[in-house]
């Protein structure tokens, strides 16, 4: 170990300190000059201008990005729907389950799509609000209605005419689901409403809510008597204050993604806001887990197939969409995935596959069940930033 350098300990600044100070000053000035170069241009694109030539007729390929555990797996005995598709069309599919969070996926592709560059995918599956956002940004190619007759013929009614894509020109639901309440019937008799969930003293510290702002706030808006499909700033303030009250009181244990299901089966929580598909899958292991339709209603959502700008196999993507809207295929998929099947006629096909699932209202809900569903208002960028910001402030305590 060498002794400390005391070279400049004498009187007055030495040449060394002078040079050092000069260097620091130059660096500072240089930095100030460089900073504005890191600007951030607008990312809105026009799908009519930003597209790639469709190579589908020559390249029998298709790249799909989907959520994990969202397609029936192939077994030794039986081919899955994906392999059937490959056999029927001759298109080889590169299927990846690399979407696990809408916001994260957005962050991943933002720079490319915002700059009109390819993302190497022909089809991606995103939840309603994110699909709406991307379509609004002009990042999504229209789907030729003539090429997907099954979609327009077989899409179930509740999913038609959504405000952000009225005629399904850009999107096709892959699976749908309901957001409601789940509880562990071994630990509690039942929960009837969202209001009860966030105020009942016995549930203090024993519930979780979803960290997706739209899921949770739709119910909060219902609790304060507003319509999630059309609400004002004042109603929003009331709803968020109501949530804040529950958080401050220690009623809410956490805001989670899919992991609430482990907490529910482990008994760490007794009730929670939940997605229908998770609940069905958990019921196989633990029949005490129940799903209830809260008094406030249900929110019906879907994950949608979208063709991003600059995709090079749009024709094959349209074949894929049309294929999955055949009732027989949809039933085979729904029998494994257990979410709500968006395809009319799949219920009749399901009888042949597994008739225990036919009457499951969480896969084939009746018109009656779906009468009381609601959707979340489409937000513009500024609103979304404000609401998401306030929501994450509250969920952060």
């Amino acid at each position: 170990m060498v002794g400390r350098n005391t070279g400049s300990a004498g009187a007055g600044p030495s040449r060394r300190t002078f040079l050092k100070a000069g260097g620091v000053a130059a660096f500072g000035v240089g930095s100030l000059a460089v900073l504005p170069l890191f600007g951030s241009p607008s990312q809105v694109q026009d799908p009519a201008k930003c597209f790639a030539d469709d190579l589908s007729s020559t390249q029998k390929k298709l790249v799909v990005s989907n959520w994990p555990a969202y397609i029936d797996p192939a077994t030794k005995k039986q081919k899955n729907t994906l392999q059937d598709f490959e056999a029927a069309t001759g298109v080889s599919v590169d299927y990846t389950d690399d979407v696990s969070d809408n916001a994260e996926f957005f962050a991943k592709v933002r720079n490319q799509l915002g700059g009109c560059e390819p993302i190497g995918r022909d089809l991606m599956v995103l939840t309603d609000w994110m699909a709406a956002k991307m379509i609004g940004l002009g990042w999504v190619q229209p789907i030729d209605a003539d090429k997907v007759p099954n979609l327009h013929k077989n899409l179930i009614k509740p999913l038609q005419g959504r405000s952000w894509d009225k005629d399904r020109n850009f999107s096709a639901p892959w699976q749908s689901g309901l957001t409601g309440i789940a509880y562990n019937s071994k630990l509690i008799k039942g929960v009837g409403s969202f209001q009860e969930l966030i105020t009942k003293p016995e549930l203090k510290g024993k519930i979780t809510l979803l960290s997706e702002m739209r899921d949770t706030m739709a119910f909060m808006l219902k609790v304060v008597g507003a319509d999630p499909d059309k609400f004002t700033d004042a109603e929003w303030e009331k709803a968020i204050e109501e949530l804040h009250k529950a958080v401050r009181a220690g009623q809410v244990r956490a805001f989670t993604g899919n992991e609430y299901i482990q907490d529910l089966t482990a008994g760490n929580i007794v009730a929670c806001e939940a997605w229908s598909g998770d609940v069905i899958q958990a019921q196989y292991d633990n029949p005490n887990i129940k799903f209830v339709v809260p008094e406030e209603g249900l929110s019906l959502w879907s994950d949608n197939m979208l063709v991003p700008n600059k995709a090079t196999h749009e024709g094959n993507a349209e074949k894929w969409i049309d294929y999955y809207y055949e009732p027989e295929v949809a039933a085979k998929l729904a029998a494994w995935v257990n979410y709500i099947c968006p395809v009319e006629g799949a219920r009749d096909e399901m009888v042949k596959i597994d008739d225990t699932l036919v009457d499951n209202p969480l896969i084939f809900p009746s018109e009656e069940d779906l009468k009381n569903t609601f959707d979340f208002m489409v937000l513009d960028e500024k609103q979304s930033q404000k609401y998401e910001g306030e929501f994450s402030d509250v969920t952060g305590g």
Binding site: V2, A103, F106, A107, R110, N268, E381, Q385, V394, G397
Partner: protein, 303 residues
Amino acid sequence: MTAAVVAETTGASPHPEPQEHSPKRKLTGYWLLLPGGLWLIVFFVLPLYSLVATSLYDPDGSVLQGYDMTWAFSNYWHALQDYWSPLVRSLVYGAVATFICLVLGYLLAYAIAFKSGRWKNLMLVLVIAPFFTSFLVRTLSWKLLLRDDGFIVNTLQFLHIVGADGRLLATPVAVIAGLVYNFLPFMVLPLFASIDKIDHRLIEASSDLYSRPAVGFFKVTWPLSLPGVVSGTLLTFIPAVGDYINAQLLGSPKQRMIGNVIQDLFTKANDYPAAGALSVILMLLILVMVLFYVRRAGTEDLL
């Protein structure tokens, strides 16, 4: 990152070079610096500029419409006003976790260095062994251990340490425990490296001079192990303050740390200026604290 910077500037003290060097020889040093320097410029300096620039964007812009560079220093003030409490909480959690790590780690490193004999290598491997499993899996396992109906909580309830309705998950205890567990090896390894180097004869000498073992420890062993203490605490404190996994998995909204806030601002709220400003504040805060600490500890040369 900060530790590396500190190490670099302090390590640069010139030492006497006896041999006369030709200009060519002088250049060799710069050539050797080139790969590392380029790496730092591309992956540290440029991103840092981008981050600082982001923190000064016009807060009225949006990710999609683009941001204008308006030198909005008010972003910093607003970020501090809105998020001072998770910021303070993170520093407190980080400090407590670091302190616990230091106590546990020192005992462990001391035992491994001086008392483990032929088991030394095995014990070192055991310290690192948890790294063979992913960080996430290990933290999720803690969730299993600390669950409300689990063995640990039941025992504590039986002993009346926590109330009959008490719990560990979703409390600061769980978050800090997670931090301690996950960062302990970063404390143990530098401590071990320092303690292992201590010359036993110095400790023997202290007892030859009639010092009690405790005095010997504080006058000989502790000062000689200071380099390990300093680098261990830095390696633990800096990542612990910025960590968001433990708070997310083991905590509740009331335990949210600054890392969670920044993550939410970036990915959910899409409020890039505020997220950038908070990141810069966190970085500066840690840098200042570390500089102060290193100065106070008087160990610039020890790093």
